[in-house]
Amino acid sequence: MSIDADRLENIRMIRDSAQAIARRGDVRRARDWRDRLPGFDRAVWRKMGDLGWIGLRVDEADGGSGLGMLEFCALAEELGATLTPEPLVAAAAAVRLLGRNAGSDRLSGDRIVLLAWQERAGSLDPAGGASFAGGRLSGCKRLVPAADGADEFLVTTESGLVLVPRDAAGLTIELLPAQDGGHLATLHFDGVQGELLPGDAGRVLDEAALATAAYLLGVIEGALALTVDYLKTRRQFDVPIGSFQTLQHRAVDLTLQAALTRASVESAAACLDGGAVGAEAQAAVSRAKARASDAAMLVTRQAIQLHGGIGYTDECDVGLYLRKAMVLAPAYGGAALHRRRYAALQSPMDDIVDGVADGP
């Protein structure tokens, strides 16, 4: 799964361009938009459109950038490192599903469409919750991020996709405040008029899960960088606390989890880009999301502990990383759910394991 040099250079450029929104470690925007609707900045959203990010996974023929999961994950990681509040993953999933219907206004960021796929917490099934019959959509979808800023929603149903404008008659939006200062919305559909579009959300949800894992990798890296820096500067007993072996070893363990998460996410992205489908692709995504969710909670929890009392305050940025992890570790499936799915699939390591078991 070696990546060629041109591709590495592309990925480096995408990472660089992300610094135009916020430099690594700068979480001021995330702090500013907390508890303030719509929870993110439309001007930044348009800039993301200009940079080709919203349609990064949309084919070039359909007006997108036509890039792969390695590129998308690199971008999501950078966004995670600055706790970027704009709902890029939910919007990128929607325009990817729309494909040739994505439309230049959505890809440019002038019009914001978000995917509404989830029936209930702890589920990966996009079919339930809302149903479409007789030209009307009924039921509800839950846990839609940043919904107050959306212009429309792409709703998944058993029969296909339905595009619903935010001001459609029969749609009510209920906002639930989330730990990261944003919102997760419940959309109630009471006979909303619309038409059915073709599309199967399964693959796109896997891509969104993987991109979320990459965002969490950024969260991990951001929290870890802040914490290692703190260990070097905070002095107690006349020495930097980072000279204490217990804290050193803990920091190394967190670094190991960060390295495993990166390897897991990047290998899963390479697997999908290499054309994997079905169980192989799902296993790779489940592996990466399970790792990223667990590691993000571990690292951000420990980041609080290693900061001591200041880590428990609202003014310290490290808490923002923890509270972002609390929202995204379960999003698109948490660690336990993805472990279960992985176990149910043919494990990609089985051939290695079974190959050994053959024995003499």
């Binding site: 050193q248 390295a259 495993l260 990166r262 790792r291 992985y342 990609p348 290695i352 394991v353 078991a357």
Partner: protein, 387 residues
């Protein structure tokens, strides 16, 4: 220069063709009864396999071809080791091949190279490594075995320990103190000594399995010629340390844990634990850890394939692999119930040996730099945390 065996030009092969060649070689030549041995083989058990490898020019993958090695690139060495481990090939008494040979090639005199290298390849010299001492383990630079020049001879006094298979070796390479005062790393030299020298005593140590895998070696006024010094005097430390470059990646190979996980699956099926959901969640976590370890290993291997050198962060692999190996064997012990306390494998099947593998796993976090020392190093050299 001597070339005892004309080896084929392996680098002319593609990686895929080379992998296939290694698989074929192992299938054709590896003695069946030595596959996946339960313990480290002694010379009398491993000799045939050693000589088979030597006669085909397959013994020394990392050595240049002009010294009789395979001259493999880093990428092909990874394949060689991977396939050997996957096959369950028996590990040789390989200190001469892996450690001494490359050091002589880099630092030895022409006389030393032409004298010693062919004898390693022919199996005439079997080497052991004299580094650790009773009071110099993790803190190896505190070693006190000393060598004093007396005319044309070095006189060695002291004690080495954890010397693997010293009872089978006829030569030892060792780090000795040749200067005191100053930085302790700077007074260390690298010497070669025949094991039949008067004054050398070998006392095997039984390991926790009660196998005589390693020894104590005592030096009482042992005399070796002045010419047995390798490299410059007092420069032995940096020579020995620089030796382990990219080879450190092998301590983090996923194969040991993959092998253990296969045994865990086999054991779980045998004991009826496989369908227990609590067990299956544990197993899945371990399988995921192995899969991610494999991915991490590949990122380091990719760096080597691109011709980059590895940094100190490669130690992350060793820490994770050895601790994962232990967690797998811990799980074996849990499902084995009372079998965990029995000496012999279940039903005499050596693939069902939870206790044996559990004991073997104890060493993994200690040898090659303990997990704790590795964490110390990573904290300072990778994270830049203060002393």
């Amino acid at each position: 220069m001597t070339t005892p065996t004309q080896t084929p030009d392996f680098d002319a092969l593609s990686d895929e063709a080379f992998r296939a060649a290694v698989q074929t070689f192992l299938a054709d030549h590896h003695p069946r009864h030595l596959r996946n041995p339960a313990k480290r083989l002694h010379w009398d058990e491993a000799r045939d396999w050693y000589l088979i490898l030597a006669s085909h020019g397959w013994l020394a993958p990392s050595w240049p071809r002009r010294y009789g090695g395979m001259g493999l690139s880093a990428s092909k060495q990874l394949i060689y080791v991977d396939e050997f481990e996957r096959f369950g090939a028996a590990r040789l008494p390989d200190h001469g091949i892996i450690l001494l040979g490359p050091l002589l090639i880099r630092h030895g005199s022409e006389e030393q190279k032409s004298h010693f290298l062919p004898k390693i390849l022919s199996g005439e010299h079997i080497w052991c490594q004299g580094y650790s001492e009773p009071n110099a383990g993790s803190d190896l630079a505190s070693l006190r075995t000393e060598a004093v020049l007396d005319g044309e001879e070095w006189v060695i006094n002291g004690q080495k320990t954890w010397t693997t298979l010293a009872q089978d070796a006829n030569w030892i390479f060792l780090l000795v103190r040749t200067a005191k005062g100053g930085r302790k790393q700077e007074g260390i030299s690298f010497l070669l000594a025949p094991m039949d020298s008067p004054g050398i005593t070998v006392r095997p140590i039984l390991n926790i399995h009660r196998h005589d895998e390693f020894c104590e070696v005592f030096f009482d006024n042992v005399r070796v010629p002045k010419s047995n010094l390798v490299g410059e005097i007092n420069r032995g430390w940096s020579m020995a340390k620089a030796l382990l470059g990219f080879e450190r990646i092998f301590l983090g190979s996923p194969r040991q844990s993959a092998h253990a996980l296969a045994r865990l699956k086999h054991l779980a099926r045998h004991l009826g634990a496989w369908d227990d959901p609590v067990f299956r969640d544990r197993y899945t976590q371990l399988a995921l850890d192995l899969a991610d370890h494999n991915a991490l290993f590949e990122t380091f291997a990719d760096r080597l394939r691109r011709g980059e050198s590895l940094g100190a962060d490669v130690s992350l692999l060793k820490i994770h692999q050895s601790e994962l190996f232990q967690r797998i064997t811990d799980t074996m012990m849990e499902i084995a119930a009372e079998h965990a306390g029995l000496l012999d494998p279940i039903g005499g099947d050596r693939d069902l040996d939870p206790a044996g593998l559990f004991l073997t796993a104890r060493a993994a976090t200690i040898y090659g730099g303990s997990s704790e020392v590795q964490r110390n190093i990573l904290a300072k050299s990778v994270l830049g945390l203060p002393s």
